[in-house]
Every structure is written in structure tokens, then in C-alpha cells.
Amino acid sequence: MATQTPLPDIISDLLGVGGFLGDAVSMLVAAALVGTIMLTMTAFAGPWAKRKITAAFTDRISVNRVGPWGLGTIVVDSVRLLSKELVIPEGVDRPAYDLAPIVLAGSALFAFAVIPMGNGIQLADPEVGLVFVFAIASIASLGLIMGGYASNNKYSLLGGLRAVAQNIAYEIPLVLTAASVVLFTGTLQLSEIVAIQQNTTLATIAGVRIPAWFAFVNPFAFVLFVVANLAEVGRNPFDTPEAPTEIVAGYQTEYSSAYFVLFYLGEFIHIFLGGAIIATLFLGGPGGPFLPGFVWFTIKIWAVYFFTQWCRSAIPRVRIDQLIGIGWKGLLVLSFANLVLTATALGVTGL
């Protein structure tokens, strides 16, 4: 899986346009394409797959009235949510209240710009791709605190504060664990990280080549990353910022209609972003046998999504102090240990 031409270049070649204007047009088209892909996935995940998966875990049938397998629900729900009245409570801090949903949804979507999705679908491939992804994804915390604070609601405030405390506590283990992958690859460029995983052979069993996906090379780091990622995207057992039974959906309590949809979207795009980072760093990105790269990529991020829904159905929520404790006393220490051990192992073996 060699480094491919970024998507805008492919498009400008296809359209046969050049120059500044042509580049701009092809970039916009490419961005629209990637955005559409992710939003389509979110549309499937939010109103439909989430219900179906949760229903399967709890012995229910779930949506099945509109369209085949209830898929028409996606349209119905979109219309329903968007046609609701936008209620803006008294005393909200207007610019912040309006910006928060956009910041949340936008930041998660923005980070997909550098994710290699296979079949050349990648908007840009900067040398610091990994840093870019984490930097952009962290902006979401800003959106959460903005929403929580600007809502002028005590529950929202508690939710916003929880969200920030949680994101700070789990961002560090997340980045440290990612750094242990960087030690292997020696590069921050995402396409390179994928290529190295895919092109290195871990073992050959009965003639089948097993690629050196970092989930296989360092399962410990993989588990750490998946756990920290659960906290990052705020799913059980770490869904304390929302915690409907405690603080009534936290930062999003006061949001309705289109704003709520943006929050909801942002949350799901965030889960997919987490899945994309896991896939890229640990599961060989779009790599896989037989099927096209993009299909593999989709399968991998949906697998991560499925995992988050599984946790949501089956695992209790930890308390906020326990959550912070696990983050600072547990995951941080473990991720440092992982980093040092990986560095030592690499130094000793001279890989």
C-alpha cells in the first residue's frame, strides 16, 4: 500500500482543471465527498444502527415499520428532528451557545481530512498527520465546555465540567499510547504508518502472510488505546458527561432541533473518528485481503462503533471521581510504562 496521491489531485486530474481556481474547486469537491461519506455513515449509525444494535443486545426488535429493516427511519428521524422548534432558553450566552454544536461536529469532521480511507480517499497527507488528528479532535472539548457553560443550566454546567475533566485525563494516555506506535514507525505521517504496518510481515502461517498490524505487535498498547478512546468519545463505562440518569444529558440538555442534531452528529462522528484512529494506528488502516481498501476501512470503523455500543449496553457507568482516578492513576501510568517499555524493547532489539 504505497502512499497515494491525495484525493484533490486525483479529482483535478479527472476533471482536467488546473491552476488556483481548479485546485480550489477540486479540493472543495473532495472535501464534500469525504464529508458526505462520513455523514452518511453517521446517518446510518445514529437513528438506525444504534437502535438495532441496542435492541439486539436487549432482546428487542426495534425499528421495522418504515422501509426494509426499518431503514426508512433514517429519513423520518431527520425530518422529525430538523422540523422541531428551536427553543433557545432565557439567559444563554448567545455566540457561545450557537457555536458549540458547530465546533463539536466540525472538529470531528475536520480531522477526517488526513485519515487515509483507502482507494486514494484522503484529502491531505501532511507529515504531522497524527498530531493534526489529535489536535483537531481535542477541539471538541472546547465545544462541550462552551455548550455546558453557555446553556445557563446547572446540569449542563456540571456536564461541561465533567467533559473537560474527562477529556484532559484521557487525552494524555491516548497520545502517549499513540506515541509508542510512532516509535515503531518513525513517522507521524498517517499514510506511512499504514504502509509500514501493511508491508511488514509479522509471521507467515500456512502460507498466509500476517501483516504487522500494531494491534498484533503490541496488544497491550491496543487495549490501552481502545479504553482511553472509549473515555474520549464518552461511551459507557465513561459516559459521565452525558449521564442522563444523573445530570440529564449534561451539556446537551438545553439544545433542541438543528442544534441538537449537530451535537448528536458530532458525537457519532467522534466515535467514528476514534474508530478511524484505532484502525489507522493499530489495524492497518484500509489494509486487508480481497476487498477494496475503503471497504476494509469501513468495516474496521464500524467494528469499533459496534464495540462502543456493546459497552453502552452492558457496562455500568463509573462515578466521576472513579473516572478521574482511573485516568490519572491507572491509564496514565500504564501508558507511560508502555511507552518506556516499547522504547527499551526497540532500543535493545535494534529494530
Binding site: K154, E246, R312
Partner: protein, 562 residues
């Protein structure tokens, strides 16, 4: 033969050895004779009329020297010439030993000493008496209305209350109902938070006024009354024989239907001296335990809802299993929630035909149940995160539990070995083989364990009942005793009887006034007392633990507010 009538005619005990601890009336009278004005026995207990300024003296003497450590209920009522507060005392060790302390006060100046320093549970009970009847309690720490809004005028169970007079709430004084409820007093380090009346975790319309210090709870004050439906007054307007029985279904709609109806049935049958045929007792016992399983499944599911988040596996599993019980109850009674199955002197009808089919569905459920409970154990009680969340949170210690009059699974989770089914036997329970479950932890986890094990015990009881019912001789299937069409118990007879509801000791006090309707009908709700202990359990803990504690108390607001 098991009958509803037990041995509590007090004059029998008069001959017993006269030690106060044995609870003999003569000894008790000797103990508090300085304060006793006269004897006024109730059907269930000896009653002593005392002076209104000696309440604390008498109650603390009875508590420390005669062992009456359970203030089960406080009933207030208004007579033509006086107000009366009745303190129904009993012992946690032996609830058949009871005593009623009657405190009359004049109608002009209905002030009586508070019992709150002796029994913490009197706090809420006396507030209710003040709210509904209008008796005032001297030195009470917080004598405010509890069920009705603060702006209410008059006391609805008083004699001169005019129902037709509109409640006028002046706008100027009350234009902002939240005034004074927004901030904690002059303390900038804390935040006042209203949890409820509409909140996903309050299990109904409960309003918890909370003061937060960061995420920690500095103070809580449950504000109840949003679901007050005048159940006592409605019962006072219904005839004993037919019109009261449907109301109890509306108290604990968990559905504790048959358990609630039994509380009324037991009291009324005691009052009117009705025997219940043995076959009907078995039907009652089986139905009651089915209700208990349904209630505990709901408690378990909603408790997990509080800890896991919305619509998680365990909640749906518990609801699914409760659904099976409800189907059985529907077969038996014809209804899913408002069962209305009991009648004075028996039950309304026999097992539905074909009987074999009904018994088979019950047995199928019982056969599946152990597997289900194992699944619950795997999913919740043996889950480490769950344990981290529940063990040592919401702790209610043994003494505090008793002080607050806590009963039922909550008390048994705190090591109080008290179960009315065993200690004050009724129905067919004494003939059956089952155990009372207790745990010593006093925390949320213990309360959950108690409920899960009680489900097993209930299943044992049901199985034995089904065996008995199947083999019962065809010609002895009496489902009802011969009860007169109109019941008019003698004027002035009073009794207070309790049963073990799903949430604890559910009691009914009735004073007959010689008509076919009760003169005073008072409900002792276990949830009411249990909820009053919330403050003790959750102060100093985190909000999630407050929510979990509320869930583990398993309050049904319909029963709290009545």
C-alpha cells in the same frame, strides 16, 4: 387453621408476668403511669391516653425500658371535641407486641409535643399530621406542609374543612414559586440544584432539593407530595365491603396490587371479625408473592437504569421477566396493574380454568427463574465496576435504619431482621418453608442483594402454594367467607394492622364510626419512612451515588404521596 384473626386481644395479656419488656399492658401502664390519663385499647394493641406535654417522656421510656423501638406510624384525627395523635409503637424484634400512645389536644389549641427527638421518623409523620389534619407539634424542627403545596389553606382531613372553597393563591406573594429555591443561603461555595420533580432518575415525581459542593452532596431534602391523590380521604368515603378495595392497587403500582390490598383486607377483617378460608389464604399468598417478584424486578431494573444509563441490557432483561409475572397475574386476576383481586373474607375468583394450564405457566416461570437470576448475577452483582459503584455507597447503618422506621428490603439490607410475614404472621406464610433474607452491609449493594435473594424466596413460596393448590380437594375450594353485604363495625373500634408489602411494612389504621364507611382511614406507607432516611444516606456523597441510593431505596411515589 390459618385465619386472619390473631391473638391480639389485649386483655388476655393482662395476666402475663408484669415486666415492661414482655410488653404486658399492666407493666407498661405502671412504667408510664405518671402520664397516663386513661386506657383506650385498640383491637391490635393496648392504648394509653397521655398528656400532650409528655410525649417525649413516654415514648423515650417505652423505647429504652420496654424495648418499643419502632415507631411504625403516627395517625392524627379530629373528633367533635378534640384532636388526637396516635403513635403506633411496636418492636423490631417482635411486632406482635404493640402499644398505641394516644395524645389528645383541644380543638382550640391543638398543640402537642413532638416525638422527633425520640424517633427521627416522627419528623415526616408529624408534618403529614399537621398538613392534613392540623395538629401542631411543639419544638418540631421543621413543621411545614409535606404533601400539599405551601400555599394551601386549611387542613383537608379536619372536620371544618370546606372542600368547596376555592384555594386562592395571591399572585403577588407567589409570583415566583422558585423564590428562595435558587441559591443556597449566602454560601458562594455551594450550588443549589433542584433534582426533579421531572428528572430521569427520580422514579416518578419526586423533587430532591440538593445543595452541592462541587460534585459532592452537601445537603438533600426530598420534597414530596406531587402525586398526592387523597387516597385516605377517598377510602373514608367508600364502603368497607366493596368500594375501598380498588384503591390500594394505586398505592404501590409496582405492581404491588395484591400486597397492598392485603393491608386493607387484614385491617378490615380484623375490624369486622371475618375469617378467611384456608384455600383463599393460599391464593392470596401466591398472588402476593407474584406481586413481590414483579416489584423487585422493577426495582432491580430501574436501579440498574440509574447506574448503567438508559435502556441497557439489564433493565430490559428485568422488564422482560417482570412481563412474564404480569402475564400470570393477568391470568389470575384479569388485570395487569390494578388487580383488585382480594375481597374481604377471601378473593374474587378461583384459579382460571383450565387450571392445569395456569399452573403450568407458573411452573414454567419458576423453572426459568434460577437461570435468569444467574444471568443477573453475571451481569450485575459480579461486575467489578458495578461493585465499585455500589459497595459502601449510600450506607444506612443498623441504628439509623431503626430510628427512621425503615422497613422492608432496605432495613434487611442494613441487618435489621424484620419481616412482618414471619414476625407477625398472616396468610399462609407460617405453614410454608421460606427464609427471611438479611445482609449486613447497609449499602446499595446489600439492598440489591436482598431483593435478588427475596425473589428466590418468593419463588419458593409460590412453588409450595402451587403444589398445595393443585392437590386441594375439589369440594373445599372456598374462595370467600360468608361476609354480610353491609359491614358496620361498632363505633369507636380502632385497629392498626400491617403486612409486608414489596417495599416494607405497609399498614392501615381504621377507626370505625358505626357507619358502613371508615371514620378515619390512615395508610402507613413503607416508602414514606424509607425515603425520609435519604438525607442520612447520601449527604457527603457524589451526585451519582445520590441517584443510585434513591434507586436502591425503591420508592414508588404513588405510595409515598398516597
Amino acid at each position: 387453621m390459618s385465619t386472619q384473626q390473631e391473638d391480639d386481644t389485649p386483655d388476655v395479656d393482662d395476666a402475663a408476668p408484669a415486666t415492661p419488656a414482655s410488653g404486658s399492658p399492666a407493666a407498661l401502664e405502671a412504667l408510664i403511669e405518671d402520664h397516663v390519663l386513661e386506657r383506650e385499647d385498640h383491637l391490635n394493641a393496648p392504648g394509653f391516653v397521655i398528656r400532650a406535654d409528655a410525649v417525649q417522656d413516654v415514648l423515650s421510656t417505652l423505647k429504652t425500658e420496654a424495648g418499643f423501638d419502632h415507631l411504625s406510624c403516627v395517625t392524627a384525627e379530629e373528633h367533635e371535641d378534640r384532636f388526637e395523635s396516635i403513635y403506633h409503637l411496636r418492636k423490631y424484634d417482635d411486632p406482635t407486641q404493640e402499644v398505641s400512645i394516644i395524645v389528645p389536644t383541644s380543638r382550640d389549641n391543638p398543640v402537642s409535643e413532638t416525638a422527633e427527638p425520640v424517633f427521627r421518623t416522627a419528623d415526616w409523620h408529624e408534618r403529614e399530621a399537621y398538613d392534613l389534619v392540623g395538629v401542631e407539634y411543639d419544638d418540631h424542627p421543621n413543621l411545614e406542609r409535606i404533601l400539599l403545596p405551601d400555599t394551601w389553606q386549611g387542613h383537608p382531613l379536619g372536620l371544618d374543612y370546606n372542600q368547596n372553597k376555592p384555594q386562592i393563591v395571591t399572585f403577588d406573594e407567589h409570583k415566583n414559586p422558585l423564590e428562595g429555591h435558587e441559591q443556597a443561603a449566602d454560601d458562594s461555595d455551594t450550588m443549589f440544584l433542584n433534582i426533579g420533580p421531572h428528572h430521569p432518575a427520580t422514579h416518578g415525581v419526586l423533587h430532591v432539593e440538593t445543595v452541592l459542593d462541587g460534585e459532592q452532596v452537601a445537603d438533600v431534602n426530598p420534597d414530596i407530595g406531587y402525586l398526592h391523590r387523597c387516597e385516605e380521604q377517598m377510602a373514608q368515603k367508600g364502603t368497607y365491603r366493596h368500594q375501598i378495595m380498588p384503591y390500594p392497587d394505586r398505592w404501590d403500582y409496582g405492581p404491588g396490587g395484591i400486597l397492598n390490598e392485603w393491608a386493607y383486607a387484614r385491617t378490615a377483617e380484623d375490624l369486622a371479625d371475618i375469617d378467611v378460608p384456608e384455600y383463599a389464604q393460599i391464593l392470596r399468598t401466591m398472588g402476593g408473592e407474584l406481586c413481590r417478584i414483579a416489584c423487585h424486578m422493577l426495582a432491580l431494573g430501574t436501579f440498574c437504569l440509574d447506574i448503567y444509563g438508559d435502556f441497557t441490557a439489564i433493565f430490559m432483561y428485568a422488564m422482560r421477566d417482570r412481563e412474564v409475572v404480569q402475564n400470570i397475574l393477568e391470568d389470575l386476576t384479569g388485570q395487569r396493574m390494578m388487580l383488585n383481586y382480594l375481597r374481604l373474607g377471601g378473593v374474587v375468583w378461583d384459579i382460571p380454568e383450565p387450571r392445569a394450564e395456569f399452573f403450568e405457566s407458573v411452573r414454567d416461570f419458576l423453572d426459568e427463574l434460577p437461570e435468569r437470576l444467574d444471568e443477573y448475577s453475571d451481569l450485575i452483582t459480579s461486575n467489578e465496576i458495578f461493585q465499585a459503584r455500589t459497595v459502601n455507597t449510600g450506607v444506612l447503618d443498623y441504628e439509623t435504619a431503626k430510628d427512621y422506621g425503615v422497613t422492608g428490603p432496605v432495613a434487611r439490607g442494613s441487618g435489621v431482621d424484620y419481616d412482618v410475614r414471619r414476625d407477625d404472621p398472616y396468610g399462609y406464610y407460617p405453614e410454608l418453608d421460606w427464609d427471611v433474607v438479611t445482609e449486613d452491609g447497609g449499602d446499595n449493594y446489600s439492598r440489591l442483594l436482598v431483593r435478588m435473594e427475596e425473589v428466590e424466596q418468593s419463588a419458593r413460596i409460590i412453588e409450595q402454594c402451587v403444589d398445595l393448590l393443585e392437590g386441594w380437594p375439589e369440594d373445599e375450594r372456598d374462595i370467600q367467607a360468608n361476609v354480610p353485604r353491609t359491614l358496620k363495625p361498632e363505633a369507636g373500634t380502632e385497629t392498626y394492622r400491617t403486612v409486608e408489602g414489596a417495599k416494607g411494612e405497609l399498614g392501615v389504621y381504621i377507626r370505625a364510626d358505626g357507619t358502613e364507611k371508615p371514620g378515619r382511614f390512615k395508610i402507613r406507607s413503607p416508602c414514606f419512612s424509607n425515603l425520609s432516611a435519604l438525607k442520612e444516606m447520601s449527604t457527603g456523597e457524589y451526585i451519582p451515588d445520590l441517584v443510585a441510593t434513591l434507586g436502591s431505596l425503591d420508592v414508588i411515589l404513588g405510595e409515598v404521596d398516597r
